[in-house]
Each structure stands twice: as C-alpha cells, then as structure tokens.
Amino acid sequence: MAFPMAVERWLDVARMDELARQGTPVHRIDARAQTVTTLLFIGVVMSFARDELSALMPFFIYPVALMSAGRIPAASLLRKLAVAMPFAVAVGLLNPVFDTRPALALGPLHVSSGWLSFLSIMLRCLLTVSAALLLVACTGMQRLCEGLVRLGVPRVFAVQLLFLYRYLFLLADEGRRMTRGIELRSPGVRGVRFRVYVSLIGHLLLRAMARAERIYHAMQARGFDGRIRLQFTSPLRLADPLFVGGWTLFFAVARVWNLAEALGALLMKGVG
C-alpha cells in the first residue's frame, strides 16, 4: 500500500500549517496582498520565451526573500519540489529529443535549443512551485481563505476549502488505521486485492458520510441556516500595498530588462 509516502505528506501539511502560524514580518502581510503577488509572479515568470534562462535568474529573489524573512526551512520546500517535478521533467525531457537545433555556443560547446528549453522549464517549475508553496507557508489555510473571499471568491467555495482542510487529517487517520488493520491481517502480501480495496474504500466512504451527517446536526444545533458567517477583522496596513507595489515594480523591471545578463556584461567589462 502506498501509505508510507503519504504519511510523510501529511506530516508535511501539518508542518506547513505550523510554519504559517509564525509571526514574522512576512506572515503579517495581508493574505490578499500575498495572493495577488504570487499570481502575478507566476504569470510573469511563465510569460518568458520558452528557452529563456538568464533573465529568469533574478526572479529567484522572490522565493528566497520570502523563505528567509518568513523563516521557512528550505529542506521542506525542496522535498515537496522533488515530489512535484516528475511530470514536468518527463514532458520537458522530450524537448531535447525533438528539438536538436543548436542555439547557444559557449566556445566549443554547442547547446541545442531543446536543452535550453528543457532547462528553462525546470527553472520555471522551481520558481512557480516554490512560490505557490510559500504562499500557504506564509499565510495558512484560514487566512488564505479569508483573503480569497475578500478578493471575490464565492463564500461557498472558501467554506468548502476550509471544511475539506479541517477533515483532511481526520479522514487520513481513519484511512491509515483501516489500511493498517488489513496489513496486519495479511502478512507478507504486497498491496491490496481489488475486492478488499473496494470494501475498504466503501466503508471509508460510508463513515465519511455518517460523519458529515453528525457535523450537520452539530451545526444545526448551533443555529446553522445554510449560510456560514465568517468574520473578517484584519484591515489592510500600509505594508500591504507596499509589498504588492514593490514586487510588481521589481517583476516589471526584471521582465523588461535582462538583469542577470546586464550584470554579467558589466562584470566582464570590469575584468577585461
């Protein structure tokens, strides 16, 4: 059964939640500001030509800055990145196969444009995935959903996200206990047979539905009438528009001018 890796994943989710409850300056930035900046960042990074490399480098400052100022350990991010990369790697690896035209010469070394675009895909993957992970690690699910509602996301959807998140751990735990029960009773057997699997999933589903019914009763008992009221108190502070504005300015500059190449040329001029 594929649970060992999954267990690690759950621990990671719990850890993300802990990270999100720190009180660093980054964590005090409004969730709306962080969401907008993250989306902008991803959009700008993905808007580069597909074989762009050097111009992408300055963009690493965004995740690195959040990670450092928000005290998010790099190790846990890298572990997640390793899990997230395979599909992009698999599809991207075909680029060098299908596109062998030489594109870049470094002295005697010729690099094909396929390899350039493959490397570029990997860079983007690193940038966008880390930005998304950092968004949660710096806001947390509750503040993020609050921010989403205030950005215009339907309340029903935000509530759905919160409920899903609330019962994730509980159901994962139930699933883990049930799979462990099966494993203990079938020593030496690798994996679950279809029939056992269906009954396992079926019972898990019935239990989930029974739980949903009990939750509904508990909600009704406290006056639930179909509409969840959420209270938003955090006001925007001056730092929030500054955060969005500052990064937007940087993204714009780094998008229009290739800062890394300019730096390189400057250095080489200095050396030569």
Binding site: Q142, R166, R214, G223, R229
Partner: protein, 246 residues
C-alpha cells in the same frame, strides 16, 4: 413554572423501520443534573437528539421550556438546549477554536461585540482561553471536549445535553470535566456509561433499555440495586461499594 424538558409518550421510528423509542416519558427540572444510562443501543443518543429537535418524535410530544418542539419552533429549542455531541471532532468544524466558539452566537445574529464577549467568557469558563487561535485538530482529547462545551456555553442555553462526555479522556481530563460539570448552574442531561461520573455529578438517574424507560430515581438508590442494574446490561459502580449509604 414548566419543566425545562418534558417528554410525554414519545416514540421514534427510523426511516429504515427500526423503532428506537417506545412511548418514553420523562421530565427535567431547572438546575438539576440527570443521568441517562443504558446499554449500547438502548436509545440514549436517539432520545437526546429529540431534545433539540434534530429528530422529531413520530408519536407523543417533546416540550422545551413549555413550548412543544416542532418544525416551527426549532430555533427556540436549539437556543434553549445546548447539545454537546459524543465526538468533539463533529462539533468543532471551524478553522480555529475562537471561530468555533463564536459560531453559535454569530448565527444567532448577535452584534460583533456581544459575540466576542460571549466567546471570551465561554472559553474562560472552561479554562481554554489560551487555545483561542489554535486549530481544533491540534488539541488533545480533553481540550477538544472542553472547547466543545464552550461552543455550547457561548449560546447561553438553559439546558446542557451531553452524549458520553467522558469518553476518550485521560484521568486528568476526566477529573477536570467532572469538576466543571458539577460547577454548572444549568439543567444537565448526561448520557453515559461512566457510572462513577454519574455518582459524582448527578442527582437523578433514568435507565433506558430497548427504547423504553425501565427505571428512574435518585442516583444512590437506583445504582445500588445490583440485580436491577445487571438486568439492564449495567453494573453497580465501584465507588458505591466502598461507601456505606445506610
């Protein structure tokens, strides 16, 4: 003054045809603590769900503070009767403890100031103010139980109805719960298998068996009747063996 809860000949049949209650009658007076005991499947939980209108009796009637519970009076019943469910995870569904305690007052349409005041008071009452910002799934079983009680206290009910409040608690959590239950001025209906808790908290016991009330009376008198307790799948609590009631 009417009884806070008055049930007369209430019967309930589940949609699948199982009859869970047979003409149950009982009264709960203001301020008293009543225990509801009986073996698994005796109908305790079903009976509790009638007290705030989650289930409506198929026959007979249920009155809360003198008002008959029906589809039209549900909100009255739910404001008057605070229900603490068996699994706190079913009751704590909001992202933080504070949000969860505020859920009831907020859905009663109170102003933000009142919501905050009630939330703070309720959390302070169960000694959980320090957990305000924590997500419920990170709490211990005892903390979850205390917060679940706070969510109900915040609605200022007249009656507290609890289903197995001491299940899953460690000895310290259980002691704390018993002390709290004794301190409440509300009428209390406690469905439980924990007979020692009954002895310490309640004054009256109602015994259910097969969906029927088979006995009711003062705690010590009834629980000391070993033959009768065993006949209904229960036992005489140890705590009473070491005391000399006469």
């Amino acid at each position: 003054m009417p009884s806070v809860i008055e049930i007369k000949d209430a019967s309930y049949v589940y949609p699948d045809g199982t009859q869970a209650l047979h003409a149950v009658s009982l009264c709960v007076e203001a301020g008293e603590a009543v225990a509801l005991v009986g073996a698994n499947g005796a109908g305790k939980s079903t009976l509790l769900l009638h007290m705030n209108g989650t289930l409506l009796a198929t026959q007979g009637e249920v009155r809360v503070a003198g008002v008959e519970v029906s589809r039209l009076t549900l909100s009255h019943a739910r404001r008057t009767v605070g229900m603490v469910f068996q699994d706190p995870d079913d009751q704590l569904f909001m992202p933080t403890v504070e949000e969860d305690v505020a859920f009831g007052p907020r859905h009663a349409g109170m102003a933000q100031d009142d919501v905050e005041r009630r939330t703070h008071e309720a959390l302070a009452r169960v000694g959980m103010s320090h957990l305000r910002m924590r997500p419920p799934y990170r709490l211990s079983a005892g903390e979850k139980r205390a917060v679940a009680i706070a969510t109900v206290l915040a609605m200022a009910p007249g009656v507290l109805v609890m289903d197995e409040p001491s299940s899953n608690l460690d000895p310290r959590g259980r002691r704390r719960l018993i002390a709290q239950l004794r301190s409440f001025e509300h009428a209390r209906v406690i469905a439980t298998h924990d007979l020692e808790l009954v002895v310490e908290v309640c004054t009256r016991v109602i015994v259910l068996d097969g969906g029927r009330v088979v006995a009711q009376g003062p705690v010590r008198e009834l629980l000391n009747d070993e033959a009768r307790m065993l006949a209904h799948g229960l036992e005489r609590p140890h705590i009473l063996r070491h005391q000399h009631p006469h």
